[in-house]
Amino acid sequence: MTPVIEARSITKRFPGVLANDEVSISLERGEILALLGENGAGKSTLMNVLYGLYKPDEGQILINGTPVTFHDPRDAIKSGIGMVHQHFMLIPVMTVTENMMLGEELTKGSAYISAAIAAVVGGVIGYMLGGPGAPQGIMAAVIWVLLSAALLGIQLAGIKLPLSRTLFGTLAGLVVGVIFELVSQSTGQAPFDFPIWIPFGVLIGLLASVRWLDTALVANRIRKLSSEYGLEVDPNAIVGDLQVGAQQRVEIIKALYRDAEVLILDEPTAVLTPQEADDLFEVMRRLAARGVSIIFITHKLREVLAIADRIIVLRRGQVVGSATPAEATRESLAQMMVGREVLLQVRKKEAQPAEPVLEIHDLVALDDRGHRAVNGVSFNVRSGEIVGVAGVQGNGQTELAEVVTRLREAKSGHIRILGEDVTHDPPREVTHLGTGHIPEDRHRHGLVLAYPVADNLILSDYYRDPFSQGILLNEPSIVENAKYLVDQYDIRTPSIFTLVSTLSGGNQQKVIVARELARQPRLLVANQPTRGLDVGSIEFIHNQIVAARDSGAGVLLVSAELDEIMSLSDRIIVMYQGRVMGSMPVAEATREQLGLLMAGVEAESRSAVHAAA
């Protein structure tokens, strides 16, 4: 069977990096192919080549056996490839229908409408201006109708223009207007002193080339696709109001709307809750059954084994192996991805907790809407101990971490760090005392995307020795610090002056981790530290967190991944609706017990409910 899409020996070079090294993959019709790899392995690059965002330096892409060349995503879309990116490309203030139409070609229907309107307006007003009843008037009417027809003809013939269509039409109208003006002036029949035909020409040219939006047509098509593939979506909903899972469905329909036969999903479950991820898998199976072929990129080994028909692993730009879920295990896949044995379970020594570094007492804090997000929480974190806060997202963990790092005000209660009451101190105080913070939203709180790596690495320390003396920045020491940290933490970046926005998510997180840990904090607050990262980066960051603990720091770990909590923590507390539901040493915790507490079910024995000191 001819593969529906095949990439043969794709090679792509960037300055300083060989992103894809003779990569060949093929996809059969109706197959779900999983692409696994670390950050920097080349998966995103390969997908961008397939989608026409990059041109391969060598190699071929074949669609149904025929070689094709893509100059931009439009070509790829025309060949039936659709892509759903990790960060959605939707406009929140527009409706689903309007988002669907973005970048869409002019539908033939509206080209006729534009031309017709232009012809009527041009003909009638031209006739009246030229002199009704006189030959000049008729000539004027004819010329403007002809212009509209010519512009329509150019659009229908699909001639590629150097300028955008509307501008071309406007300029064409301008030229005709100028010529007409010259002619009418030379024959002495200009209707006014003012060269009226020139702006008139511009107007008619514009009218004939303008595009009209046909929302009803698009909305109907959306409804049809929605019912055909079982993707529930309301065409009139405003995208910003939709849940993340619904937004993702809109993105998938966007691809299907453009007649995608191959769907590329980039980290689709990174933003979904476990339930939404299951729904997505259902959708994928349905799509595959109806002949849509799917390539999806993911780091989650568990999902790959659950949904994929076939798995391909990339490492450092090369294909290092393929497998099926039947033959592979999480360990074998991880080993292929990283090239060595990977410990999926963090190996750590017993904790040696000492005196408390963080004491929280009866803390109450409000969320952005004024509700009590943290509702009377008390617990301690001791030096040399990792306390994991488990819980479904949205139960106050984020607000808790923000209050501890002083990005949010506490309504009541006390926070003590290393014995100092910091409940109302500014963030810099907390940093001074020796707190490091890995924020949940790395783009918003952790990094300045417009800055280079070197500047981000000194984001919280720029005002101190040795990075500045007085108000003068000490550039050599900033550069030295950056070089040292990039090396120490294996941050993959072309240079320390590269803008951090171009780094992959894993490397961006490494920048944050490097910055915070380089300060050798006494208290580390890590909020979703490995969200959206690959196995290699996750292992690295976990090791760093354990190393911080072993050197005497106390770690407050907040995570929505129960696996992470259970493998890293020494003690686990569970939050539900702003309260601590239970606290226990990790040895006593089971998934079932934690799951119940996370759902708000009170534990049987009273001792588990009271927070242990």
Binding site: F14, P15, G16, S44, M47, N48, Y51, L53, Y54, M83, H85, Q86, H87, P162, L163, S164, L167, V178, E181, L182, Q185, D193, P195, I198, D266, T405, L407, P426, P427, R428, T431, H437, P439, H443, R444, H445, G446, L447, V448, L449, A450, Y451, P452, D455, L459, S460, Y462, Y463, S468, I471, L472, L473, E475, P494, S495, F497, T498, L499, S501, T502
Partner: protein
């Protein structure tokens, strides 16, 4: 967020390395040497004659071609030079549309052929008036001085994420403070002009600090407040000049007394007698100095780091311990101080007193200048020169061709439109967006989000 970003450039924007800078400067000097060399000959001739003889169209064209080749060479570095494309194309497109407007508005009873030729003659006249005629170049430099300084103020504000629309009012208040120190307080030379400039900076800084404080403490948006402060400033100045600061001796115009000669900014001709720069005063060079100073502040100091970080990402700045309030007030004060300095220098260098209609729209042109320079202090210099050239060229345009000199307002507005909406230029010319457009977009879009 960039996931599948378009081909990522290796370097960061237009960054000529050391060798390229040296070669570029040598090229400019080499191309201009024949123009200036008669001044240093055995029988030296003054600057304006040298310019008149030396600046021929051939020389200009040669210089432009040479610089274009150099720019292309630097451009060919991966990623280098892409940052220049949008502003250059914006200016070019604005001139094209301006030509169309010239054609359309060329008065009654003109044939089409006449009109088209008029556009060409008009631009030729502007070029003459800005650069080529005798003393035109110095006029341009003098006209650019307030534009560069106010542009610096606005650009600094943008870098800190603030929309300072109040440069006009800060300019006027700075001028008020300055002119007062100029005529009412008597100090020895050298100290007096410096004091006058300082007074201008204090006045402008104060006028900028007020909306800054309102934003920092109350969250009141600076766009509204600065616009309102403009009105207050202009009317206040008018009242002061008509009443408290009125020069009772002057019969014709209502104005303040003339400032002491000790407070004047010396003309270049006084320092270098061989150059009859007739109106060129030290202010231009002070403006250049301040441009370098602002660049140094923004990129070499901790204060600048805080301002830029707050402008790029206020959340990350807060996390980094930067106090938003302090940064906002500081940025608005500095921004206003620069505009106030412009007012002071304008008085010290040109008029030497303050008339009632002093504000000439510099504060609003400054916004266009800052945006055209993409808020980079060094780029404000050529941007300010361009707008200054438009201003001086416009006078000659009106004299020679009868077209209204307000055509330059149209051109300036178009430049501003195209630069503020770079997507428009990219759409017309089918350019690809560059990933390091990050800074410019952040500065623009932060406005209403607070």
């Amino acid at each position: 967020m960039t996931t599948g970003a378009i081909d990522q450039p290796k370097s960061v924007g237009f960054r000529p390395d050391g060798t390229q800078w040296v070669i570029g400067i040598l090229l400019i000097l080499g191309a201009l040497a024949p123009v200036f060399s008669p001044m240093f000959a055995r029988k030296p001739i003054p600057l304006n004659l040298a310019l008149e003889q030396g600046v021929t169209p051939v020389r200009i064209v040669t210089l432009l071609v040479v610089m274009a080749l150099w720019a292309y060479w630097v451009w060919r570095q991966p990623g280098a030079g892409k940052a220049f494309r949008v502003p250059l194309l914006a200016v070019l497109t604005a001139f094209v549309v301006g030509a169309v407007v010239l054609v359309l508005a060329a008065g009654q009873d003109k044939s089409l052929g006449d009109r088209l030729f008029l556009a060409l003659r008009g631009y030729g006249a502007m070029l003459d008036g800005a650069f080529l005629k005798k003393a035109a170049l110095t006029n341009t430099l003098v006209a650019s001085t307030p534009l560069i300084l106010t542009g610096l103020g606005v650009a600094l504000g943008f870098r800190a994420g603030l929309f300072n629309i109040g440069a006009e009012g800060q300019y006027v208040i700075g001028a008020i403070f300055a002119v007062f120190v100029g005529y009412a307080i008597h100090l020895p030379p050298i100290i007096h002009p410096i004091a006058v400039m300082l007074a201008g900076m204090i006045g402008g800084g104060l006028w900028g600090a007020i909306p800054g404080i309102l934003k920092a403490k109350l969250g009141a948006h600076e766009v509204i407040n600065t616009i309102m402060m403009n009105s207050i400033a202009i009317l206040l100045a008018d009242w002061l000049i008509n009443n408290l600061m009125k020069d009772t001796g002057s019969s014709s115009a209502v104005r303040t007394p003339i400032i002491d000669t000790s407070a004047n900014l010396p003309q270049v001709v006084e320092i270098f007698p061989k150059m009859t720069g007739n109106v060129l005063h030290l202010g231009f060079f002070i403006a250049i100095l301040f441009a370098v100073a602002v660049w140094w502040l923004l990129w070499k100091t901790t204060i600048g780091f805080e301002l830029r970080t707050a402008g790029s990402n206020l959340d990350a700045a807060r996390y980094a311990g930067i106090r938003a309030e302090r940064t906002i007030i500081l940025a608005m004060t500095l921004s206003g101080a620069l505009a106030g300095l412009a007012g002071a220098i304008q008085i010290q260098g040109t008029t030497r007193f303050m008339p009632t209609f002093f504000a000439a729209g510099y504060g609003f042109d400054a916004i266009a200048v800052a945006l055209l320079a993409f808020n980079h202090p060094i780029a404000v210099i050529p941007a300010g020169l361009l707008f200054g050239a438009l201003q001086t060229g416009a006078e000659v345009l009106q004299i020679r061709t009868g077209a209204s000199k307000h055509i330059v307002s149209i051109i300036q507005a178009l430049i501003l439109l195209f630069v503020a909406a770079p997507a428009l230029i990219r759409w017309v010319y089918r350019l690809r967006a560059t990933p390091d457009a990050g800074t410019e977009q952040v500065a623009m879009t932060r406005g209403w989000g607070g």
